[in-house]
């Protein structure tokens, strides 16, 4: 059987899959940060184009992908699905391991799947510039790539610790014509406030989001774009899972286990929502869907399911999600894209309801798995992706014990070619296994005021 399972270009999905109408109960609505009342579309018009706002709240099961967007996606889509024969042999597992490789996109990750439509809808709405944040630089480089295609300017607030750790991501943004600013910066009020309190801060996604939102809200020609967390982002990423479903069907397979790493939840949603939909509809009830997160930022495994802000400054709507608290600054792990205090509300709900489950790993464990993957399958994965690799290997090893020939699918969300300093740290035994001291944190929060609606 083939190692690569490829789809013809004309088999690329023509529409995205929206899981919202298939949820057993509707999501709790996002709340306005000032009033605490459910959001209406007009609340979001200062920072998003109407088409994306409608997608965010849409209850249509499918949303058409515009032709112009499909044209750009065809530069790398459909992406290949691999059967990991070499990894299977190395692990001596009866499991069948498949991985969807999103590292073939120009920026090297799944991120342009949503950057391209977001840039397109903003261009159509007459917007001239987009402000955004980026953690590890995957999203920033993807949006730089996408805005340049549609003739928009782009300003990217990059989390300071990543800005220093990953200089080549910054260089990519420059090639694609975007401006990249280390966050927190003095360009915004929220950034200045953080710097004043703590000049040595490593920054965080939550802080960078505050800066980008403020930039967009205070400039008429500028909108904001988010690389994860929101429903419309997850919607755009469902091309991953939809392609997988067709690719697997072409070899008469269907996954028993679906795995993805989770920061804000979009690559995980992308690969898992089409399969979660089947699970909810009852066509494939037994699929085990696993979200993998870092032990240092264990939102789904140790967070609270509650309303919280999406950013540090409290500028975003309140979302009902798993959260570690919007003022939590996760430690500077190398998987910078997973350093986020919250998670997509739909992923949160599905984990809360038991449709999906979550596991967490330490840094050294995931790099060990990434090394195994690189030495068998060849691809050096991004530190974020290495979390999914770890969980996949562990599931495959369970199969070796039980003798079950399960079909395991994971999202190989990006390559790590710009993350080699993280691998260097692994080989120098300098990786720190950060933890989230859950009990102590809960005790420390006992006296804090409650967030409205929590």
């Amino acid at each position: 059987m083939d190692t690569k399972i490829l789809l013809e270009e004309d088999h690329m999905p023509k529409s995205w899959y929206n899981i919202l109408p298939d949820l057993p109960t509707p999501l709790d609505p996002p709340l306005h940060p000032a009033t605490g009342k459910p959001l209406v579309p007009e609340d979001l018009t200062p920072i998003f184009p109407m088409e994306l706002i409608l997608q965010e709240m849409s209850l249509k099961r499918t949303v058409d992908i515009p032709e112009e967007v499909q044209d750009v996606l065809r530069l790398w889509r459909p992406s290949p699905l691999y059967r990991a024969y070499r990894l299977e042999r190395h692990l001596k597992t009866p499991a069948h391991i498949y991985y969807k490789y999103e590292g073939v996109s120009p920026p090297g990750s799944h991120k342009p799947n949503t950057a391209v439509p977001q840039a397109y809808y903003n261009m159509k709405a007459g917007i001239e510039r987009i402000a955004t944040e980026t953690g590890a630089g995957q999203w920033g480089s993807a949006l730089a790539f996408a805005t340049q295609i549609f003739g928009l300017e782009c300003t990217i607030y990059m989390v300071r610790s990543s800005y220093a750790q990953k200089p080549y991501r910054k260089s990519m943004m420059q090639v694609w014509g975007a401006e990249c600013i280390p966050s927190p910066s003095t360009k915004t009020k929220s950034g200045s406030a953080v710097l004043q309190k703590d000049p040595e801060t490593t920054g965080s996604l939550g802080i960078a989001i505050s800066e980008a939102v403020e930039d967009a809200a205070t400039h008429g020609n500028t909108n904001y774009a988010l690389g994860s967390v929101l429903n419309h982002v997850c919607l755009h990423q469902t091309v991953i899972g939809l392609e997988c479903r067709e690719q697997l069907a072409s070899v008469d397979a269907y996954p028993d286990v679906v795995i993805g790493c989770v920061g804000g939840g979009s690559n995980f949603a992308g690969i898992s929502f089409p399969f979660a939909g089947e699970k909810l509809k009852g066509t494939h009830k037994e699929t085990d869907i696993i979200a993998v997160e870092p032990a240092s930022c264990p939102t789904l495994t140790k967070g609270l399911f509650a309303y919280d802000y999406g950013d540090v400054a409290g500028l975003t709507p309140l979302l009902k999600m798993f959260t570690l608290g919007h003022d939590f600054v996760p430690p500077s792990i190398h998987a910078g894209g997973l350093r986020y205090h919250g998670d997509n509300p739909t992923v949160s709900r599905l984990v809360h309801d038991g449709v999906m489950r979550a596991v967490s790993y330490h840094q050294s464990e995931v790099f060990e798995a990434a090394q195994t993957f690189a030495r068998t399958e060849g691809i050096i994965v991004a530190p974020e992706t290495s979390h999914a690799v770890r969980a996949t290997i562990d599931e495959a090893l369970k199969c070796r014990k039980s003798g079950e020939a399960k079909t395991i699918l994971f999202n190989c969300s990006g390559h790590g070619n710009f993350d080699m300093s993280a691998y260097d740290a692994y080989y120098a035994h300098q990786l720190v296994d950060y933890e989230y001291p859950e009990q102590l944190i809960r005790e420390s929060l006992a006296r804090l005021p409650k967030i409205p609606g929590a």
Partner: protein
């Protein structure tokens, strides 16, 4: 065959359990506070592990070595120094070392603390390697094995047929005990000795960090622990020695002793500089207490060095689950393994393989605990 000079400073460590932070010149005070010597037991732990080795041992009479050797069933040793009856002291340690040198020993094995290390070094210098069995109040010098059992492992490496000692430079430092009792940590480099080691088994010289990042990290830790304390007002907190826990005191606005154990309740200082008896006195009834303790210097030692006030009895009363370990990322970066050395092996073993160390605001690091029994057989 190896020839080893072996001596015990019988009073080493006596000041620790009674809160004296050192025994130099304080033996009678320590005794009057009820301190009992335990250096012999520490030495016996090492010696009992090497009875099968073919070593020619030279020692001192009575408490200074002979009793430990005969107690372990070792014969054929030679007594090369006999102290005068009564209290032994630094002159005896030094005289014994001169006798060892005259007999051309390959190694001086001593049981004591930093004071003893200083006395041994002042005679042998770097002409002969020295190895310490830890038994003192303070062990900031790099000549000490992590535990008595680890010392035995090092001797086994060097004295089995075909084996050899790996030798490295090891700083001998001492702490100004007068200043130490006043709450000021003043270390000074006394000299650089030669010392045998197994990688990972001998403590590196303890360092006191003072760069800005380190201070910032201490403040972050302190702010987090203060919030935890505010969220648990019913808990009695005992803050251990060191500059990280001192930062917690500063954050709380209390006068924390730098080197002692202080008790805090409801944000107020309840008692300062507690010894073992006073700690046990505080830990009565059903009320919950937590111990906040740091890793000492770069050596990765927890609960063993300079913390004898927290005896196994105190720890059992507090409970392992109520121990919060704090350390700055800087310190942790130089501490690949944490060693738990309470003096009670069963209690040590109960800590498991890993320990979570609070290293910043709402952040912890997982550190591996060095396993003594594993090291005995596997090197590192």
């Amino acid at each position: 065959m190896c020839t080893i000079g072996f001596l015990v400073n019988p009073v080493a460590g006596m000041g620790g359990a009674v809160g004296l932070k050192g025994t130099d010149g304080m033996v009678e005070v320590a005794r009057s506070r009820g301190a009992v010597p335990h250096a012999r037991e520490r030495a016996a732990e090492t010696i009992s592990d090497i009875v099968d080795l073919r070593i020619h041992l030279l020692t001192c009479s009575g408490f200074m070595g002979e009793e430990v050797l005969s107690g372990a069933g070792i014969s054929g040793y030679e007594v090369v120094y006999r102290p005068a009856p009564g209290q032994t002291g630094a002159p005896d340690t030094m005289a014994a070392c001169r006798a060892f040198l005259e007999r051309g020993v390959d190694l001086v094995l001593f049981c004591g603390g930093d004071g003893t290390a200083r006395d041994v070094y002042s005679v042998v210098g770097d002409s002969v390697p020295m190895l310490g069995i830890p038994a003192g109040v303070k062990m900031y010098s790099a000549v000490f094995a992590i535990t008595p059992v680890a010392a035995a492992g090092i001797l086994r490496d060097g004295c089995t047929p075909g084996g050899r000692f790996l030798i490295r430079d090891a700083e001998v430092v001492d702490v100004d005990e007068e200043a130490y009792r006043e709450g000021v940590l003043k270390t000074r480099l006394f000299g650089v000795a030669k010392s045998p080691y197994r990688p990972g088994l001998v403590q590196g010289t303890k360092q006191v960090f003072e760069n800005p990042d380190e201070e910032r990290a201490k403040k972050d830790i302190a702010r987090f622990i203060r919030e935890v304390m505010e969220g648990t007002p019913e808990v009695l907190y005992i803050l251990g020695p060191g500059s990280t826990t001192a930062a917690i005191g500063e954050e709380l606005g209390i006068q924390k002793t730098l080197l002692g154990f202080d008790a805090v309740s409801g944000g107020d200082l309840v008692a300062a500089d507690l010894n073992e008896q006073a700690l046990l006195g505080l830990l009565h009834g059903d009320s919950r207490a937590r111990l906040v303790i740091s890793i000492i210097g770069a050596q990765g030692s927890l609960l063993g060095r300079g913390t004898q006030q927290v005896s196994p009895a105190v720890l059992r009363r507090i409970g392992r689950e109520n121990i919060i370990v704090v350390a700055t990322p800087h310190k942790l970066a130089e501490t690949p393994l944490v060693f738990v050395d309470t003096g009670d092996r069963e209690l040590d073993a109960g800590f498991g393989d890993h320990i979570s160390v609070v290293s910043g605001y709402r952040v912890a690091q997982r550190k591996r605990i060095g396993n003594r029994s594993k090291f005995e057989h596997m090197g590192n």
